[in-house]
């Protein structure tokens, strides 16, 4: 196999592939007529996420635009560009923006329609596709009901939440989602995206996409801190959380800081009985794309082993290609080539199998 990409037949799992709704009418067969008519009557033509400006240079690979449809909209094209290139199982994280809808009834209907569309249009199209359950996080109780509705469907292997939530994700208001996910044995994936009106940066709204994208890791760090300190993993000890598309090299410094300050402020969160880094290593996984390291290979060869030492092991890392997004580094410069064969196998396959225990059920590999 080449060192920078997975190899077919190896059993590699790509945990972050983005499927897109090209035309909102694709969802109408799965919507109650009250809501499909509502979309038509109100002139709602798209919920494509504004946080991925479609033609921005980093938003999609040139070849993913080749069909003339939205990048990621065609299961056949994604098959050719992901599954036929060494990925044996692809987890779809659909970012069609139902989470920012302010009418929760409409959001509930749209999320359910989106999931049914994913099942029919994608999961049925190829046995190597898996999907994340999109939930109406506007109302965590109803989000939990959507998880319960799909829990028996083997194609859904994760619950998807967006990082720019209305309140921090550790807040107890969200706990029905974690309870339902844990009961279903599903990890919760957290992906950059606006779900409520908070700006994507902790300090306010950025002027440019570059600022927003570079700052995605900041929201993720805030969410990780919230999940640990609020005791989500104390309350749901079986729960795994996967941080998607936000880099990984920031993690050691956050763990150092949390551990250091936990010693002095531990009494605020007495339910966190272990050092935060221990909790994070036990419950949290991160996808490998985009990977933020030195651009020069020589520098990377020098720096990345140090990062891996700081991280402790590659146990937390899950391979992702992030198709069709194109804002990470070229494959030959990515993390994989700096790993030993055993570590590469862990990141490409074994960590994914452990994180998504049902992922190979009924799969072609």
């Amino acid at each position: 196999m080449s060192s920078g990409t997975p190899a077919a037949g190896f059993g590699s799992i790509d945990c972050d592939v983005h499927n897109a709704v090209d035309d909102i009418a694709e969802l109408f067969p799965y919507l109650p007529q009250r809501w499909s008519d509502y979309c038509v009557e109100h002139g709602v033509t798209s919920l494509a996420p504004a946080f991925y400006p479609g033609r921005a240079a980093l938003s999609a690979t040139p070849e993913s635009r080749s069909s003339g449809r939205a990048p990621g909209a065609d299961p056949e094209l994604v098959r050719a560009q992901v599954l036929e290139r060494g990925v044996d199982v692809a987890i779809l994280n659909c970012l069609y923006a139902v989470q920012p809808i302010h009418n929760e009834d409409w959001a509930v209907a749209m999320a359910a329609a989106l999931n049914d569309w994913q099942a029919q249009r994608w999961l049925a199209a190829d046995p190597r596709y898996r999907a994340s359950i999109v939930v109406p996080s506007q109302n965590p109780q109803r989000a939990a009901q959507e998880i319960e509705r799909l829990a028996g469907h083997g194609g859904f292997v994760q619950v998807l939440l967006l990082a720019n939530s209305q309140v921090p994700l550790g807040n107890r208001a969200h706990w029905p989602i974690y309870e339902a996910a844990a009961a279903a044995g599903l990890p919760v994936g957290v992906h950059p995206g606006v779900a409520g009106g908070n700006p994507p940066l902790p300090v306010g709204w950025p002027s440019t996409y570059l600022e927003e994208y570079a700052g995605a890791a900041l929201a993720m760090q805030s969410q990780l801190t919230s999940l640990v300190c609020e005791g989500v993993f104390s309350r749901f000890p079986a729960l795994k959380v996967v941080l998607l598309e936000s880099g990984v090299t920031w993690l050691p410094s956050l763990m150092w800081r949390l551990d250091k300050n936990w010693k002095g402020l531990r009494r605020e969160i007495p339910w966190v009985a272990d050092r935060p880094s221990v909790v994070i290593r036990r419950h949290v996984r991160l996808s490998t794309a985009p990977f933020d390291g030195p651009l020069a290979t020589e520098q990377a060869r020098d720096h990345l082993p140090r990062f891996l030492d700081q991280l402790g092991s590659v146990d937390m890392l899950l391979y992702s290609g992030d198709h069709p997004h194109w804002h990470h580094r070229d494959p030959e410069q990515s993390l994989l080539q700096f790993l030993s064969p055993a570590e590469r196998r862990q990141v490409l396959r074994d960590n994914g199998l452990a994180t998504y225990p049902t992922i190979l059920q009924g799969a072609a590999v």
């Binding site: 107890r172 002095g264 339910w271």
Partner: protein, 153 residues
């Protein structure tokens, strides 16, 4: 503790009433003497972590929990928080309880216990779910005569 104990008078008993404390200087060492409900304890006034003036720190209880939102407040006034880093130490034993690195704890067990009563106290805390940290503040036996507080060196 060496075999040759030296008894040093450090205060009149009424100087350190229940809940009170006094920082004294003995042989160039700063030592905090505490009265917990009539029992006296002495702790070296230097945090074993970084040397901070431990005995000048806040006195509080210990907070433990069985889950998010649940707080159990134990042994009010019997824990010192070092003013430098807020790490917590048990006045009765000098044991720190903030850091559950069990493998580093045993090294310190031997010089924590001042007698069967303190050992029993540690067992009670461990049973309540507390885990020892790696540091132990230096402590000295204290005895109150009718008129004086005495520490053994």
């Amino acid at each position: 503790m060496s075999a040759l104990h030296r008894h040093v008078v450090v205060a009149n008993a009424e100087e350190i009433p229940p809940g009170g404390s006094k920082i004294v200087e003995v042989d160039g060492r700063s030592i905090g003497v505490f009265n917990l409900d009539g029992e006296y304890f002495a702790v070296r006034n230097a945090c074993p972590h970084a040397g901070g003036p431990l005995c000048a720190g806040m006195r509080s209880g210990f907070v433990r929990s069985e889950g998010p939102g649940h707080y159990e407040y134990l042994r009010r006034g019997e824990f010192l928080r070092c003013p430098w880093h807020q790490w917590e130490f048990d006045i009765r034993t000098g044991q720190s309880w903030f850091d559950p690195q069990k493998t580093r704890v045993r090294r310190y067990d031997a010089r924590i216990a001042a007698g069967a009563e303190l050992l029993a106290e540690e067992e009670r805390l461990a049973a309540a779910g507390l885990q020892k940290g790696p540091y132990s503040a230096e402590t000295y036996p204290v005895r109150a005569t009718e008129e004086y507080v005495i520490i053994e060196l």
